[in-house]
């Protein structure tokens, strides 16, 4: 389907797992927790168990990385995770199988695939979208797909009910935020710092002011990630975001215990639980505080 032929698909829609998850979080006044791991790391046979462990540790949805040979937006931790996964031939089709297997035990937790465009295009967008839907994937975040290039590519994904999540960055201008929000469905992922995944220069104050600008442009839920390494940073960002994404901190844990995979589910679960507890101890009234998003949408006109 081409953009502009009168039929515009919107991805998962209001009754999707993803929308329901964010609606529930909003109703409960809670901040969502989104862990990221790279599929196939340290070995593909552990991935499904690790996904379940993440849910047990308090994940509201799971971002599963699709290994790519040239992950140019990722820091060394996730690069090495990709190399470990590719060493055991974890490619897109294997990742889809893992999601299907995860779904047999967990029909509720949304799963987002995060990766780069080339493996997806190689499978074929339409083919990928159908297989992803059949496997129980809820959405896709393609790191190197800019909003400008999206209108030619995402309709094929949205047509199968997949949400397309886009990144926002500290460098995104207001016109770009509007453009990106228009292409996105499900949620928006705000990259909290100028850098690659796992960097250590998080500036909470600047995230706060940028998020206010983003809120003025969109009603989509906003997840914040890059640089979230512990319960403290998670809580700091959790005060202003709808969800917090934690990736490299978990992948570092996998790397640390890769030779003892039996302990990995417990380690990951515990690590995530500390963040979950920190987020849940945030005052529920934060949503009504003047520096947070009001419950009623902000008017779009500026």
């Amino acid at each position: 389907m081409k953009a502009g032929d009168g039929r515009r698909e919107t991805g998962g829609g209001k009754n999707s797992r993803l929308s329901m998850t964010f609606a529930r979080l909003r109703a409960q006044g809670r901040t969502g927790l989104i862990p990221y791991i790279t599929a196939g790391d340290p070995h593909p046979r552990h991935t499904v168990a690790l996904m379940h462990a993440l849910v047990e540790g308090g994940a509201d949805l799971v971002e599963l990385g699709v290994p790519f040979s040239d992950p140019m937006a990722d820091g060394p931790v996730i690069q090495r995770a990709c190399e470990r996964a590719l060493a055991h031939d974890t490619h897109l089709r294997q990742v889809l199988d893992q999601v299907a297997q995860f779904r047999r035990r967990d029909p509720h937790t949304p799963v987002i695939l995060m990766g780069y465009l080339n493996p997806i295009e190689t499978m074929g967008l339409g083919d990928f979208a159908r297989r992803a839907r059949d496997s129980g994937v809820d959405g896709v975040l393609i790191v190197d797909l800019a909003a400008e290039e999206a209108p030619e590519l995402t309709p094929a994904l949205k047509a199968e009910g997949l949400d397309c999540i886009f990144l926002l960055a500290p460098t995104s201008t207001v016109p770009r935020i509007r453009l990106i929000a228009g292409e996105s469905s499900g949620y928006l992922y705000y990259v909290s710092l100028k850098g690659v995944t796992g960097a250590r220069t998080l500036d909470v104050a600047s995230v706060k002011s940028r998020l206010a600008e983003v809120r003025a442009c969109t009603e989509l839920p906003i997840a914040v990630g890059f640089g979230v390494r512990d319960a403290k940073t998670a809580a700091a960002l959790g005060r202003m975001a709808d969800a917090v994404v934690v990736g490299s901190a978990l992948v570092s844990e996998i790397e640390k215990f890769k030779s003892r995979p039996a302990v990995l589910p417990r380690k990951l679960s515990a690590k995530l639980r500390s963040m979950r507890n920190a987020l849940d101890s945030l005052p529920a009234s934060r949503l009504a505080s003047p520096d947070s998003r009001p419950l009623t949408p902000v008017p779009r006109s500026l």
Partner: protein, 410 residues
């Protein structure tokens, strides 16, 4: 001579890329969001400055007095005799300051960086020629410089590593992935994302996200413009054929671009055939790859059936790259340029032949163009003329060639 298979006189080559940086279905801007606004700012600055007479005059001055342009168009009479066919002219980019065409681009991009108020230059490099050219302009402008280079390339191009260090650049060896040019490019992009406020990324080839393929082409097109003039003066007409090596493709597009509208000029881009196209050990995405997305643009790539980028092989570090500039991808589909490949062995033979026949030691990259020119010359015939882009000099390669040929240098 019209190129076989190319007869489209309707294509307006001045209209590409389009506003979004597309060459047909190739090119574009496929990067993480953080880089989109910096790329837009770069594009805006470039469009403003390229029509600014003061900027153009400054660039022309640098090209004349710092780079040493114009470079000669040299009639290689002994080579012509030896190859027994078309008359061979060598475009002597090897005579530029720093010894390759790469300086045309870095001088231009350094001026852009200066106008953008950036204080730090970063670059990726394969053979080290682009790294040296970037370190050179950084030294001249008093800018900090960091060059990313695959560990394997650091070893096989050690003279250039030392040159960069002498020039004050920091050379960062990249040990991720296949430890060559593509991984150096990943690392440079990561650096840029993290230091986007004060840092200018000097992309070394006509690839990457828009506007790099456009501006690298434009800065190198001085080569082709000079050949347009020089061939008129020397021959009274355009050459019948142009031959250039293609890794990312900046020297080739620089030579080709001004000639694209002139259908009587045939063009050949020569990729690195490595150990042979059938072995899979090569770096020839246009010859045997297929379209995909890498490093910010859609182009021909060497990738496996899962879409993972393949490791490449070439005797020449500067051609050892699994992608190619998007304009070449477009020109291939259009049939305007013919893309071929030559093996390591043929390139090495051409390296020796030019050295002994004309007293010019070519870069191994340029030796690929020479090796194909040798095949083409007798086919074209004696009444035809051919320009081969001698994109760089071979001093950097003599150590690895000696090693390969079992000669101990102390």
């Amino acid at each position: 001579m019209a190129h076989e298979g190319y007869s489209d006189s309707m294509t307006d080559f001045s209209q590409v890329p389009d506003a979004r940086g597309h060459f047909g279905s190739y090119g574009g801007r496929f990067v993480a969001e953080t880089l989109m606004e910096p790329l837009r700012q770069l594009e805006e600055a470039y469009f403003r400055l390229r029509s600014d007479p003061a900027f153009c005059a400054e660039l022309d001055r640098d090209l004349a007095h710092y780079v040493g342009r114009p470079s000669p168009l040299y009639p290689a009479t002994r080579l012509t005799q030896a190859w027994n066919g078309a008359e061979i002219y060598l475009k002597r980019e090897d005579l530029n300051h720093t010894g390759a065409h790469k300086i045309n681009n870095t001088v231009g991009q350094a001026l852009l960086a200066k106008h953008l108020g950036k204080t730090r230059l970063i670059a990726e490099t394969g053979a080290g020629q682009h790294g040296v050219a970037t370190a050179t302009v950084a030294a001249r402008l008093g800018l900090a410089c960091v060059v990313y280079m695959g560990v394997d390339d650091v070893q096989r191009q050690s003279p250039n590593v030392y040159r960069m260090k002498l020039l004050g650049a920091e050379v960062v060896p990249v040990s991720s992935g296949t430890r060559t040019l593509k991984d150096a490019l990943n690392e440079a992009l990561r650096d840029w994302v993290a230091h986007v406020d004060d840092t200018y990324y000097v992309m070394g080839t006509a690839a990457g996200p828009h506007p790099y393929p456009l501006l690298v082409r434009d800065f190198n097109a001085v080569v082709g413009r000079e050949v347009v003039q020089q061939s008129q003066t020397l021959l009274g007409r355009f050459p019948d054929a142009l031959v250039a090596c293609v890794g990312g493709g900046s020297n080739a597009i620089g030579l080709f671009h001004p000639f694209l509208p002139h259908a009587q000029v045939a063009m050949y881009g020569v990729e690195a055939g490595g150990l042979g196209l059938k072995t899979g050990r090569h770096a020839a995405p246009l010859s045997v790859g297929r379209p995909g997305v890498l490093h910010g643009n859609r182009t021909y790539l060497m990738a496996d059936r899962n879409g993972q980028i393949l490791g490449t092989h070439s005797i020449s570090a500067g051609l050892d790259y699994p992608g190619v500039g998007p304009e070449h991808a477009w020109l291939k589909d259009l049939g305007r340029v013919r893309y071929v490949a030559v093996t390591d062995r043929d390139a090495l033979a051409a390296f020796h032949e030019l050295t002994r026949t004309e007293g010019i030691i070519p870069a191994l990259e340029s030796a690929h163009a020479l090796a194909y020119a040798k095949k083409l010359a007798p086919k074209l015939g004696r009444d035809k003329t051919m320009v081969v882009n001698l994109s760089g000099r071979g001093d950097k390669d003599i150590f690895s060639i000696a090693r390969r040929e079992g000669i101990a240098l102390t």
